[in-house]
């Protein structure tokens, strides 16, 4: 196994939010002590509901935003300070894809010009080489040069997302952060783009951080999946068995809330209450007010992310598994 490309160690990020026009500003902990490791060529999936801090994590990993605490290391080196030459060199090796391809493209430029732009910005190759690279990229995302001459408005949603992907790949990045890349697409188009991402990853040896609320898509593309709730990772484990045998009550609820055609689920877990407000984080385990299994200890003590055997880690006082035995043995 090759070493990790991205190492994130206990990053935190909070924002000041004012409640009401004259209210006091309160700190909103968007991300709170998140640690992740992504080996080269692998995909880490990040799932969670809105406000869970998954997008903020993505932005910090890319160095778009500095963490308040903690550190991100890329290919063994810490992220350079924004704006420096070292930072720019690192940034050329990582790219990002967002949910809304139309918002990420300039409506008044032919898409081929937009794919070429990163090459111009980073000064890669001669003009002739850049033209050739654009054609190559269009082919890679299964489009033709004729598509390249069009404007974003003349392309379908799936084609636009392919253009965004082609542009992200222009500088031959090693690392790609995808934030809900297929959420706005129809099911059949979603499958095309997911397959394309898997193919490109295999061909180019890309490392991915794949952020989505869609458990199915995340499982399809990831090696390891982390579940976030209110800025913290509550469960992390291999994609193959995390959703088959979720340990954390929140993961269990998420899996049970993801209906499958052909199976009428008896006994779906329906969580009470609304998704929590990141500005009013509950004491103890942030999930305890909605947790069907919460005990007194959950309201006072924050559970730490603990290994429970296999490569699974769970942050829950009630998590079963082989943890108790290891503790006895120790």
């Amino acid at each position: 196994m090759s070493g990790p490309l991205v190492e994130v160690s206990s990053i935190s990020r909070s924002y000041a939010m004012r409640s009401g026009m004259f209210g006091h500003s309160t700190a909103v902990h968007a991300v709170d002590g998140v640690s992740l490791t992504i080996p080269k060529g692998e995909t880490l999936g990040l799932v969670g509901e809105s406000g869970s801090g998954k997008s903020t994590t993505g932005r910090i990993v890319l160095g778009i935003e500095p963490p308040d605490r903690g550190e991100v290391r890329f290919d063994g080196k810490p992220m350079a300070a924004p704006g420096t030459a070292a930072w720019r060199a690192q940034r050329a090796r990582m790219q990002m894809i967002f949910q809304d391809p139309l918002g990420a493209l300039d409506r008044r430029l032919p898409v081929a010009t937009q794919i070429r732009e990163p090459l111009d910005v980073h000064g890669l190759g001669t003009p002739a080489e850049r033209e050739e690279r654009v054609r190559e990229l269009l082919r890679a995302v299964e489009l033709t040069p004729a598509h390249g001459a069009r404007y974003p408005g003349a392309l379908s949603g799936g084609q636009r997302q392919r253009i965004v992907l082609a542009r992200a790949l222009a500088t031959k990045p090693d690392f790609l952060v995808c934030d809900e890349p297929v959420s706005a697409l129809d099911v059949s188009i979603q499958a095309q783009v997911v397959n394309l991402l898997c193919d490109l990853q295999a061909q180019l040896g890309l490392t991915l951080l794949f952020i989505s609320h869609d458990l199915r898509v995340v499982r399809q593309i990831s090696n390891v999946v982390a579940v976030m709730y209110l800025g913290r990772i509550v469960e992390i484990g291999s994609a193959d068995d995390l959703f088959a045998r979720p340990e954390h009550p929140y993961t269990q609820a998420l899996v049970s809330a993801s209906p499958a055609p052909g199976r009428r689920s008896a006994g779906r877990i329906v969580l009470a209450g609304d998704p929590p407000d990141p500005a009013a984080r509950p004491q103890g385990c942030a999930f305890h007010p909605r947790c069907p299994r919460a005990i007194a200890r959950c309201a006072s003590e924050v559970p730490a992310l603990t290994a429970v055997g296999g490569n699974r880690q769970v942050a829950c006082h009630l998590a079963t598994g082989p943890r108790a035995e290891t503790r006895d043995a120790a």
Partner: protein, 328 residues
């Protein structure tokens, strides 16, 4: 035979001469839940907007929509006003934009109640409180005085459901009711919809792009593609054994949540532009099974089993061979 609650026959809709709905037939029995699935632009929402006379003036609508045997397509405005919000209620994907931000919830709920139930004074207020209780808004009496922005997304959708129930409808048309909501909140809203439906004996049309949501909450499902219904079947049969290649494609494109991971079977190409519809079967250019006759005539919905119809000449053939009916 009992008159169905809603009977839509040959519904056509065109915007500026471009047909977007091309002959939709759909019936709905009392108390039944029917799902409508398909991709964006397939005509799922337009079917119901047209049926209820909610499309803009430049849309030309033809066909027949009968509610309890009475034609409502092109009915006078006064009659439609009694149908809409009264007998048939509709909720949408974006509940926040359906509420007036400068009026309290009480004002908006009471308006609906006064219009459709002829209630007034204290009776309206009591009923409004009861509706909020029914949809699970805690502390209903106090929350009535709140404005829409003081509620979370899931709660606003609950309030929309309460408003839809104000007229005691026989049919609720829910157009992507949970698409904008988080997964755990989606589960809450779907649970609420099914419990309300049981309690009130109400029929429901659930429009969704999410096959899982439809599979779990509907008795029968119609799959739409490019302005037509291509397959109609009981929910459990459709998802266990889809016949139309498009329905098969939709189900194959959905990544599984357990079991081994396989490559997704994506449907190649994109939905055709309504202004440049291919001749014959609209799905043929993307279909793996397409043969020459597919481009000649539009396939009509033909029965393949009890309560199952499909519009595909190829699927019919393969199905017949499968069942050994070809011999007869």
């Amino acid at each position: 035979m009992v008159t169905p609650l809603v009977n839509i026959q040959g519904l056509n809709v065109a915007f500026n001469g471009v047909p977007v709905l091309r002959g939709v037939d759909l019936t709905l029995e009392k108390g039944e839940a029917v799902g409508l699935v398909g991709e964006s632009g397939s005509g799922k929402s337009v079917t119901w907007l047209a049926a209820l006379g909610l499309l803009p003036r430049h849309a030309s609508v033809s066909g027949s929509v009968r509610l309890d045997g009475r034609e409502i397509l092109g009915a006078p405005a006064g009659e439609l006003d009694r149908v809409r919000g009264g007998r048939v209620a509709m909720i949408f994907q974006d509940p926040a934009s359906a509420l007036n931000p400068v009026l309290t919830i009480r004002k908006q709920l009471c308006e609906a109640l006064a219009l459709h139930r002829d209630l007034s004074g204290e009776a309206v207020k009591a009923e409004a409180r009861q509706l909020l209780d029914l949809v699970g808004i805690p502390d209903a009496a106090r929350r009535l005085e709140a404005y829409p922005h003081e509620f979370s997304g899931g709660q606003v959708q609950r309030i929309m459901i309460a408003m839809a129930l104000a007229g005691n409808p026989d049919l609720l048309v829910a157009d992507e009711p949970t698409t904008a909501l988080d997964a755990t909140i989606q589960a809450q809203i779907l649970e609420l919809l099914s419990s309300v439906r049981r309690e009130m004996g109400m029929a429901m049309v659930l429009i969704s792009h999410d096959l899982g949501v439809v599979a779990e909450n509907c008795d029968r499902v119609a799959v739409m593609y490019a302005g037509r219904i291509v397959e109609r079947a009981p929910a459990n049969q459709l998802f266990a054994d889809p016949v139309h290649p498009y329905a098969q494609g939709l189900i194959g494109a959905l990544p599984p949540l357990d079991g081994p991971r396989r490559r997704l079977t994506a449907i190649p190409g994109t939905v055709p532009d309504p202004a440049r519809m291919p001749s014959g079967c609209a799905f043929a250019p993307r279909c793996a099974l397409a043969a020459e006759p597919c481009g000649l005539a539009v396939p009509s919905l033909a029965p393949i089993a009890n309560d199952r119809v499909v519009a595909c000449i190829r699927a019919e053939a393969s199905r017949r061979a499968l069942l050994g009916i070809a011999a007869e």
